[in-house]
């Protein structure tokens, strides 16, 4: 699965981009896809200094682009981002 993760904004205000290919098991991949295609919950208008997360994910059967902010980023996607970034670094 190919990915591009862009994290912008925040108190620091320095954008970071991570890209590459990650190997995922079928179950993990299906779970992630299921969350990513869900309708995004309402944003929190009172949020200040939160990050904005843009995710591009694609392989031969799937292509998806989505943008979350700090208040509506699903926990499972947050954990996937953290794990993926740790592997990129």
């Amino acid at each position: 699965m190919n990915y591009k993760i862009r994290i912008e904004g925040g108190f620091v205000g320095i954008s970071k981009e991570y890209a590459g290919e990650i190997t995922m098991g079928r179950k993990e991949k299906d779970n992630l896809k299921r969350v990513l295609v869900k309708k995004i919950e309402n944003t929190n208008p009172k949020l200040r200094d939160g990050f904005v997360y843009s995710i591009d994910l694609w392989d031969e059967n799937f292509e998806h682009r989505i943008t979350y902010d700090e208040s509506n980023l699903p926990e499972s996607v947050r954990q996937w981002i953290e794990k993926t970034i740790a592997k990129t670094d």
């Binding site: 912008e8 108190f11 620091v12 205000g13 009172k46 200040r48 200094d49 939160g50 740790a86």
Partner: protein, 265 residues
Amino acid sequence: MVRKEKDPDVEDRTVNEAYDTSGFVRTYFSGTFGLNSIDNEGLDIISNVHYGQGYNNAFWDGDEMTYGDGDGVEFTNFASAIDVVAHELVHGVTQFLANLEYQGQSGALNEHFSDVFGTIIKQKYLKQSITEADWLIGDTVVTEKFPGKAIRSMKSPGTANDFDAQPDHMDNYYTGMADNQGVHINSGIPNKAFYLSCMELGIDDCALIWFNTLKKLWRTVKFNDMMEISVETAQELQKQGGINQVAPKVIEQSFAQVGLTQVMA
């Protein structure tokens, strides 16, 4: 809940640092302006620490503050930095006093007020004079590997690190869409005006002017509105004998130096 009001220190140093710095900020606002916590109604100040994994950020969510530990490579413990804690807490104060919309110029002013009181409170915390102070924001959350000395500079916007794109004059105003139309970028312009004012008037007079200005602002306020309200506020405070007699002129000149001048009616 790891530590609540009046509890003794706990084992976790970050918890104690967040508790102490938040308390210092609350005491500053209470002692200086008579503000009863963030909302002037005694709101509980809640800090969440150790958020995420290697999380390089701190934020205000409308009710509470949240801090990451940093990745340990370029950034470290956001909850331990007095200016970061003050910055986030002041987002709460701004929400309750003026509710500045978080985009464009009102958003940049939202960031500006957080940096202003972050800087003021940092100098109070460190017992520094305006000439001893470094006027940096976030200098203690960056590591030696970070390509810069801090996140932002009030004295010299655009020079804090290799990525710092803050302008210090309206000539270089950022017009792009990123960062909610540059809320962390264009805040450099009023930040510089604040620094220039402080160097002439001292930080306490400026704190009083800026706090009273904030109370008069509205959701979609623009830089020019804020500048005019600052001058008006300085005139009012000067008539009351509470601040330096030259304050209105100094404020006007400081904003003029960053390209913001009063529109003649």
